[in-house]
Amino acid sequence: MAAVLVHIDLDGDRPHASSLQALAAGRAVASSWGATLYAAVIARDPDASTGARAPSHSGIMRLPGDARTIEAVRAALARGGADKIVVALTEAQIAPLWSAVGAAWQAVLDQLRPRLVVFGADAPSAIELGPRTAARIGARLFLRARAQGSELVELRDRDGSCVRSHDSGAAVVLVGSALPLDPHNDDDIDVMVLTLAGGSDARIELAGSVPAERVHATGIIIAVGDDVADDPEIAAAIHRLARVLGAHLVGSAAAAAIGLVGAGDVVERGAPIAPELCIAIGRPAIDVAGSASLIRVGTGGGKAVDGSLSGPIGIQLAELARVLEDR
């Protein structure tokens, strides 16, 4: 039976929300294709190379760490629809870098030889692991796709490219969104533990981390122009849209002074940003041309935008938020 493999990032002691979206999409696909859905977690075990934990194929998780946390993760993945859970143990410190977890992830790929590998597009490891996974198995790669269809489910990206059940070859998909599924009640699922001797790639040394400035944000940015910042109707609609997209607001010091954006969200005039998606509202004074995807609201488009909305800004934004909330 074909394997659909979902990479699960952890957010503290629970699966990352984007990974659970990927799991939901994987569940829809696996059910449609008659495939087995594996959810794989990479966990740190400082004693992995001693062989103290032999590979296990039982329902009992013998894993390092707090037992309640482990059970909570297992239960969340079972509710999310996983048929089987794979835990890859590595001596490396877990970090969202191929150099840290790539070897352990490779062991999972070698074990399962999946036909479809799914990541949450907004999960921390997706950027580093997704493309390299695809290259390693010679797969097609889809950036930000979602499951579509009811009986014959496919994963389709914004360009219209899709992964279907009868396609030949492997595919790697970064899932951007998925409809929530009804919780699965099958709590009796297999857990497979893979133990990997060795750890991280010493060529990449993680020396430390600090909070990133907003100008370095790579997710979704809503950039607000001073020309619209003081309109209460627009401000309310902006916040509503930011909530539905999980976006960060950025603006000028003037926008911060009236409370539309936080003090830490002020971006200097002319500063360049390169997020995955920028929604520019009015005429923000920052350079948004580095955005992977750019939507303009209230200024009628411009060079190489992906979309634009003209007309009353507050009404357009509120309606846009409502439509997205309903999806």
Binding site: R132, R136, G176, R203, S209, T218, L277, G290, G307
Partner: protein, 228 residues
């Protein structure tokens, strides 16, 4: 002892991959990648694709003081196809460090991992600052809400998101005699084989102008709902 990212003669050879097509909106990030590459002595800029793009790449590389290599081809390839082209150029140049202009086009970041896989190098994506000393490359990369500080000790593929100076208009580039042309055959690549990584031809996407179409575009970004 020779540092791990050096060739046997002790040199660190650096190439910067500019990709197969011009930036979508601004050459600011292309210039930033070239400027970062110029901090390494003797770095070479590499581009592939159609002639107008190669001319632009050669022009911007020359302004940054870099030599350039162009691979003229009409092929439209996926992430792995272009990575195969760049990996072949890197072998030809004996490059041990490959920088990638990750920000100029949305699909480019995927080529970082693919290039690293094909060259058996370490990889680092989303790098926003880069500095180099005799033995180590120091980088900072964004990872969600964090800025990670990283030291790179060996052969690596590094995806850059470093802006250059703001630029509104730039002179139309003329064909550059300084760019070294390498065709696919010279790289040991068979276009017929490479075409297996080809993408179907597509019309340029039109900007979405209605609320429904914009909502469709944004639908893959909707945040997970609480409890889902």
């Amino acid at each position: 002892m020779t540092a791990p990212d050096r060739n046997t003669d002790g040199t660190r050879v650096v190439a910067v991959w500019l990709g197969h097509a011009p930036p979508v909106r601004s050459i600011r990030w292309l210039d930033g990648a070239l400027k970062a590459a110029a901090t390494f002595a003797g770095a070479t800029a590499v581009a592939a694709g159609h002639q107008a793009w190669l001319d632009l790449a050669a022009d911007r590389a020359a302004r940054a003081g870099l030599a350039s290599v162009g691979v003229p081809t009409e092929l439209e390839l996926d992430y792995l196809g272009w990575a195969q082209v760049m990996a072949s150029v890197a072998r030809k140049l004996a490059a041990t460090t490959i920088l990638v202009d990750e920000a100029s086009r949305p699909e480019r970041f995927a080529e970082v991992g693919a290039l690293a896989e094909l060259t058996d190098a370490a990889q680092l994506t989303h790098v926003v600052t880069l500095a180099v000393d005799d033995v180590t490359i120091h980088a900072a990369r964004t990872a969600g809400a964090l800025l990670q500080t990283v030291r790179i000790h060996g052969p690596a593929v590094i995806g850059l998101r470093i802006p250059g100076a703001p630029i509104d208009e730039y002179p139309t580039p003329t064909p550059s005699a300084a760019m070294r042309r390498l065709d696919l055959a010279a790289l040991g690549l068979d276009p017929a084989v490479l075409a297996h990584r080809g993408l179907p031809p597509r019309a340029s996407p039109l900007a979405h102008r209605t609320l429904e179409r914009v909502a469709d575009h944004l639908a893959v970004h909707v945040a997970p709902r609480k409890g889902s």
